[in-house]
């Protein structure tokens, strides 16, 4: 197993490598963030129908994308941990979950902030917002199950099964909520009916998406290092670290 992937699959080797990478990701996140916010708030034109209030989508949409993306990645790592019995894979899934939940929460919160000035309500039972809420519950369920089980290996594996069941259900839930939403056409309000995309708006969202992505990796790696330290606390290599002194 000398391929690079497996060489870093052991926590011992992964820990220092992650430590070196993290600052780069923070930097990338900051750069993308600054440029993205500039494009979103300064460069992109004022929307004809929604004025300047629409600009919240530069946070809302990337957060939604990331929340769903992270869930799939998390489920993938969890599946790898289940299939190959590699400890690090399960730890990656656990490290990603809080960031994913944060993205889902951010998406909900920015959705509410958008809704209030636009349509006068703090909450809209829009298909995407509702799915996002359910996704948040799925994240919280993952974290709650993991926290409730004392034995780390059993916790990893149980949460992994839950993540996999969740990942299969997410498209079903999204479809059913969309269906439900089209049936109850009470309001013509929809956050998915975003303003027609000017080129710059798209760029703004992509840049912010990249920013969130880099942030997620940086935060995930940082959390992963903490989890490794916690799990391997008795190992000799950990006791020799400067942090352990």
């Amino acid at each position: 197993m000398s391929s690079p992937f497996f060489r870093f699959a052991s926590p011992v080797r992964f820990y220092p490598m992650a430590g070196k990478l993290i600052p780069w990701f923070w930097m990338a996140a900051s750069v993308f963030g600054l440029v993205g916010l500039y494009v979103g708030f300064m460069v992109a034109p004022t929307d004809a129908t929604q004025g300047d209030g629409y600009r919240i989508i530069f946070l809302h949409v990337p957060a939604s994308w990331m929340s769903m993306f992270i869930y799939v990645v998390m489920a993938g790592w969890a599946a790898a941990g289940l299939a190959f019995h590699t400890r690090l894979s399960s730890m990656v899934a656990l490290a990603l979950a809080p960031t994913g939940a944060l993205m889902a929460f951010l998406s909900l919160w920015t959705g509410a902030l958008w809704g209030k000035p636009m349509w006068g309500t703090w909450w809209v039972w829009d298909a995407r917002l509702t799915s996002e809420l359910i996704l948040l519950f799925l994240y919280l369920g993952f974290l709650a199950l993991h926290a409730a089980i004392d034995e780390p290996k059993r916790a990893d594996r149980a949460a992994a099964v839950l993540a996999l069941v969740g990942v299969v259900n997410v498209p079903i839930i999204y479809f059913s909520v969309k269906w439900w939403n089209t049936l109850h056409q009470g309001s013509s309000v929809s956050l998915t009916k975003a303003p027609a995309m000017a080129q710059t708006m798209l760029w703004g969202m992509l840049l912010m998406a990249l920013c969130f992505w880099m942030y997620s990796i940086a935060a995930g790696l940082t959390r992963l290092r903490a989890i490794i330290l916690e799990r391997e606390a008795q190992a000799s290599w950990v006791l020799q670290l400067p942090e352990a002194a």
């Binding site: 199950l145 839950l162 969740g166 439900w180 049936l183």
Partner: protein, 241 residues
């Protein structure tokens, strides 16, 4: 105590006849028998369904038009919650007295045995809800066609609830905060069933064809029949490790 001196080699004479029955039916029969001997627990979930359904009109008001609007949703949510009450019992007592381990080690495939247990759970918790729902639906001034749609939807949907719920029950075996945690895990998964089931009745009430909703419920049933035994088996093995 006799027979202490009988030759031990006579064990052969006691062996069970092999391979004649179905493991699924045996497990199903066993669980039904156990439920019959503990009728109290079973009836509690049913009464819960009745009470919850009655709470909503009390909380909202008795205008028939309003009741007809909320009826399908309320009854479906009641069915969901009543099913969930019975979920913990699915594996917990077998886990506590060690019979679950015997099932896992049985030579029959575990997914089959799990299917038997889920079927028993549905017969004990789900089917009574299906039978009771039309009666409760009268409280909400639903007409005959809507009651039929409600019942049919519940007939297709409650097995889905048992199947998905089994996964949650297996994952939370012996875990702290089991009941509340189980709800957190399982209720998001129940949402599509709720949407299509209640939606079918609402469609019927609006004069539309509920067929689309019911077919989607059927699709959910097919999908969960496919996934749930395997996921539950994996979760049981993990919980026993």
């Amino acid at each position: 105590m006799k027979a202490i001196d009988a030759p031990v080699a006579a064990t052969r004479e006691f062996r069970a006849a092999p391979r004649e029955g179905s493991p699924v039916l045996a497990v199903l029969q066993r669980d039904l028998l156990l439920a019959m001997r503990r009728k109290g627990e079973v009836l509690t979930a049913l009464f819960f369904f009745v009470i919850v359904s009655s709470l909503f009109p009390l909380g909202i008001g008795p205008e028939p038009a309003l009741l007809r609007k909320i009826g399908p949703g309320v009854l479906w949510v009641g069915a969901l919650l009543a099913t969930m009450l019975g979920l913990q019992r699915m594996f917990a007592s077998d886990h506590a007295d060690g019979t679950l381990e015997q099932m896992v080690l049985s030579s029959a495939p575990l997914p089959l045995l799990v299917a038997g247990k889920i079927a028993a759970h549905w017969l004990v918790c789900g089917l009574p809800v299906v039978l009771l729902a039309p009666v409760l639906g009268l409280q909400f001034d639903l007409d005959a066609a809507s009651l039929a749609t409600l019942t049919l939807g519940l007939l297709i949907g409650t097995p889905v609830l048992s199947l998905l719920g089994a996964i949650g029950a297996a994952l939370t075996l012996g875990v702290r905060g089991g009941g509340a945690l189980l709800s957190l895990l399982v209720l998001p998964l129940y949402i599509p069933t709720l949407i299509f089931g209640a939606g079918a009745v609402q469609a019927q009430l609006s004069g539309l064809d509920p067929g689309g909703h019911l077919s989607l419920l059927g699709a959910l049933l097919a999908l969960s029949l496919f996934i749930a035994p395997w996921a539950t088996t994996a979760a049981l093995r993990i919980s026993l490790e």
